[in-house]
Symmetry: D2
């Protein structure tokens, strides 16, 4: 590099640069001029390169419910995001605290203190991740300015049928108008709708791991709608709430099923599969809790359509996901491990023949906090803001 | 037992009492007079009660392959067994070593050093547990004196069809005559045959967890022979061999399937179910390895027979196992956890309705090293030697 | 069994039988006639030997605070105890529940339901284990009948100096008279006093692991009272309370110190060491919490007395603990592992030379719930009731 | 951003851009023109931004010994490095295999297959990370072209005194000339020497965690050279070799010391401290192995210099590390947890008062594979190549 002027012709980092303006379709965000400038003055300490972008040059992001695991994961993923900057964090029970006191692994992050959601000023925010518990979410989102882009990580807007919401969650839906607007954010399946959405209902972790392999197969009529048996295994980072059942002593060195046939992700799974199949699908879904903080595997037992083979299923998934960055069909016979996606936004999957003729076994693994929650949420917001969807999501799985 | 005076020469404790002489059917063992005598001289240290039974008064037990986990588990279970005494231990690669140097948790056990199997003198042994790898076992058992009672924990005598053995294990069966004599030792199912057996093939861990719930249901025609889907999860104490795949770093904080459709326990499972169903059963069986040292869960998805309900399945299992000590059908809706059987010989199970009409979900849990291996082996040998089958097996699960 | 005299000629099981009547020194327990009778009628099911002792023939035991981990561990240890029978269990927040619903691993135990402590009738109880939180314990023990033997597992009676109690626990001692009577129950050190005690203050887990090696060395003037540095590592079964800090996700795959210099076990450790040294000892004590449910290691760095060598320390400990069943000095160079005492009442220890001349390293390991709590409590109550102190404590460590 | 031309004025990403040429001191690297160009043609898939830099524009990196954990960690860290590109990977036993087959979590990385080191062509490589076992490393490094920059992660060049190497490693040093040239790479302590080094001996994990806090204190004469007691706790990712001792079953749910007083990191620790103290330092060092894949804590017990207080120690460390990115002194009383640095290059530390007057407790935590190995190695190579030392090292710790 001859001189600094040669810098002028270069760009930048993989997946870290906004699309050109003319690709930014959404007029709401046009006003956000994305600029960054070279540090020109000699820094005090030369050893660390500083990023001198001024704050207004990035999209300003709010994180509602920042004291839970999905909240802290959003913060982790945004720490090196070139276009997003967190300017607002709420956590009612931790109001007034710094992020470092609540999540010491984030102690080096320069972020605003947490405040109560009722004290939040949304006028200086371009988009929010909503990481609040289901039930309370609807009211809060209803109260947000309509100019905000929202990715909601709760279950509150995932079910199109508000009656079904009421049935499974035991309370009426209090934002039924918003529900109509909400787009279900399974990124690889609904990319186009997500790009133009204002409110995205981010999928649950189990539904993500199950629908990513099944929806393409269902749409292609390669599997039957009946006798779909899903045995899922999850880590325990679903929440940071202090529950006896989640104590180390109650989780380590063992496994157990829970919510057998009654887990609240059932209607979400069936909604997605039914839509893909264009007929009502009822699944057998049994989740298991096991000693790992992150990770999720769904072992899915399906009946193939008459004439279809596991080779057909494999080839169809291969074609479907060939150009995707985050959904990876492994080579034949390779078995996905949850350890191999830890901390990353990948979904690894594969298809296996079953001993029972006419059946196949599909295995998919994700990190429940990344592709199963905050990573997919960021993937969605990237799309909604018109920037490359892999921005901030390129870190490699952490193994071992 | 005719009178109290006969008490004087016998021994006592809960579950630790030999049947009366006239109940000891097997003439081979009659010569072993079970006596125990009170310590009459003042012990040096009064604080610990000493058991002063002379050695010849107990059955003399050999453990072949004592340096693996199933071997050490046999030793643990026999440590306080009132009727069995280990007098021979072999471990070819550890020959000459004490048990405490190979398994420091057994450092306080007063046991003979390990020797090579070729150096073993079986003339002073009444029974052996054979904990050797499959393949080598057949030759060794063929060479044992015919007066010995044998419980073989390997897979070498489990498959009645030696052709199937050859197919799944990739080598010819080298003890086909013995195979005809071997009794498959699923205790609660084949108790009578085991009592009079000389050679018992101890079931595999997965097959135990699967057959205990399914065989009674199959025999009663309450479930279909088709579409049986078994998703099993196991701890990693299957072996102590130094394999990269079993390193802490490769197992902790994750899960993965292995041997999909090709695990060697498949023919054993199908043999048992087919016999119960009186027709050929093909199962879908997918084992998973997860971060726990001990424990195994099988989540079993079955199609019920026309007209049968989960209530029927529940009631049938309840009746079938009502008087059993080690197989426990939980109360309705209670979910078995592997943690709750750790270190014990229990199998906990339950039946749940499935969302898919006509199907049911059955969950069973065991400790793979106890009911799935050494515990059931001891249960079998107790039976074979004519003593109460729960002797030495009464310890409570270790939780947390 | 016609008369007690017939008892004299029979035996019984290792460590499972009360000493002869004439050895029962404590008159309070004489009235409890220890008898057991053979089942005379044919049992319905012959396969499991039943223990037909009538209830009044065993000591009747109460467990106060049965819903915590030390409570459930008492229940586990008593399950096969030949002389103790639980007849009362209290747990205020679980009153009315069965033990199986609170601790499913105990589902097969035939025990009374839990009741509130205020509803307990102590007239039918011979002894109690008190597993209540510190602070509340003093009042409750004050209210118990004076005929009861009590082993208190809380910290409420461990500190002889009630001023020190107040300083470290932040509240006045409300049973100062009882404090004078309480015997500190480090069994191997204070066996004689414990045998005749009515109220035993059971030692804390850290103090047990630290004092067992240090007190004999201190008494023999083999180590200096200064510069004793104790670095302890503990499992997380200290409590079942639902705390964020003890969640699986907050404990797995990591370690951290806690309570640096301020842990409440400090005064207890210093009390014991000071008494042994006959001069005030101040220790450096840093506990660490790590991902294991059970287990505790203390790595202790000491300065040896002038002229003393690690060989002297080793030989002294060897002589001191030679006849003990539960305290085991390993062979030279062998390193104690916590895994090798899991579930057992053992304390393994060893002495190592330090690189710094004049210093030595002492390592001791226990199971914090057994020798560090409920096991030692049972060892103490056995002594107090005049039965062999190892009764019910003979199970072998569970490994792996 | 008005137009693409405005792009010309921007830079880049935090810590991801090389310093200007005039800062690139090392002439050897000048020839590597660092350029990157904007993707101008419309990509097939618009959704993922592609980095179109041509290969020759990055430094070409070799990884020797890529099939171990430190090797795979180098690959992980370089995956998104803007200036380094792996062009050569060796692994003798895995020669011919792809990285995805050896490390499935790297399956998406586009990298050359592994080859045997004897087949490597170093003429197209600018720098190497050497992740080979000690002992073999010296010969291999001796054979490398002298133009190569080398960071050696083995112990082979860490000890300046080759006699000491021979004593602790049991073999003569076979590259004594190179040893004289090697710079010990504790980055924050020896930054200047590292910048101009050709061969850097990357520190061991324990020595890093111990020297980072102690060297500044030693240099400032705030702590005594005597009675330094170090109790370290490590995860088990020290190697991927298949050893019984590192099996899941042998590591989970327990802790043990190992290599008491004889661990090979001792001379390295004492070398660094002695140099800082300008007098011979002998430390007491006891490492412990515990159930975590990554992470390391050193709890260090020191005697303060006469007149010094923990406040003095705290303030000195604060000043010393104030401007560092990776070494973080926590706020007073905050306790470092290993979980809070997992996957990151951070070292968190703090100072605590001891109960023993005149002593202090220092706690430091690192990820043994990052700051303790591959992360510090990258930090060093960044410096050696004249680019910001935090490049590629900005990812946030992964918690939970």
């Amino acid at each position: 590099m001859g001189s600094l002027s040669s810098l002028n012709s270069i760009c930048i980092d993989r997946g870290r640069f906004p699309k050109c303006l003319d690709e930014i379709k959404n007029s709401k965000v046009k006003k956000l001029c994305l600029r960054a400038s070279v540090a020109t003055s000699a820094p005090k300490s030369l050893q660390f390169e500083e990023f001198k972008a001024q704050k207004f040059e990035k999209f300003r992001i709010g994180v509602l419910g920042a004291s839970g695991y999905t909240g802290s994961e959003i913060i982790r993923l945004l720490a090196n995001h070139p276009n997003f900057q967190i300017t607002l964090m709420t956590a009612d029970r931790k109001a007034g605290q710094s992020i470092g006191s609540v999540f010491p692994h984030l102690v080096k992050q320069d972020l605003p203190d947490m405040i109560a959601v009722k004290d939040a000023d949304f006028s200086n925010v371009d988009a929010v991740f909503c990481c609040l518990p289901h039930g309370t979410t609807q009211e809060i989102i209803k109260g947000l300015p309509s100019s905000l882009k929202i990715v909601d990580l709760s279950a509150d807007f995932r079910l199109r049928d508000v009656g079904e919401y009421e049935e499974w969650y035991g309370q009426p839906h209090s934002a039924q108008e918003l529900q109509k607007e909400a787009v279900y954010g399974l990124t690889e399946i609904s990319r186009t709708e997500i790009q133009s959405a204002r409110l995205v209902a981010n999928p649950g972790c189990y539904p993500t791991s199950i629908q990513l392999p099944l929806i393409p197969l269902m749409k292609a009529n390669l599997i039957e709608v009946k006798n779909i048996i899903v045995d899922s295994k999850s880590g325990v980072s679903g929440g940071r709430g202090a529950k006896e059942a989640n104590l180390y002593t109650e989780i380590a060195e063992g496994i157990h099923s829970y919510g057998v046939t009654r887990h609240r992700h059932v209607p979400e799974i069936e909604q997605g599969l039914s839509e893909a199949a264009k007929s009502k699908v009822t699944v057998s879904f049994t989740p298991h809790l096991m000693p790992m903080s992150r990770g999720m595997q769904s072992t899915i037992y399906v009946e193939m359509a008459p004439g279809a083979s596991t080779e057909d299923l494999y080839q169809h998934l291969r074609n479907f996901y060939e150009k995707e960055e985050f959904v990876v069909l492994l080579k034949k016979n390779e078995i996905p491990h949850t350890r191999h996606v830890r901390g990353s936004n990948y979904c690894l999957m594969n298809v296996f023949p079953d001993r029972i003729p006419g059946r196949a076994i599909i295995i998919s693994v994700i990190d429940n906090l990344v592709k199963g929650a905050s990573g997919q949420a960021l993937q969605n917001l990237n799309l909604m803001m018109g920037i490359p969807e892999n921005t901030g999501l390129l870190s490699i799985p952490l193994f071992p």
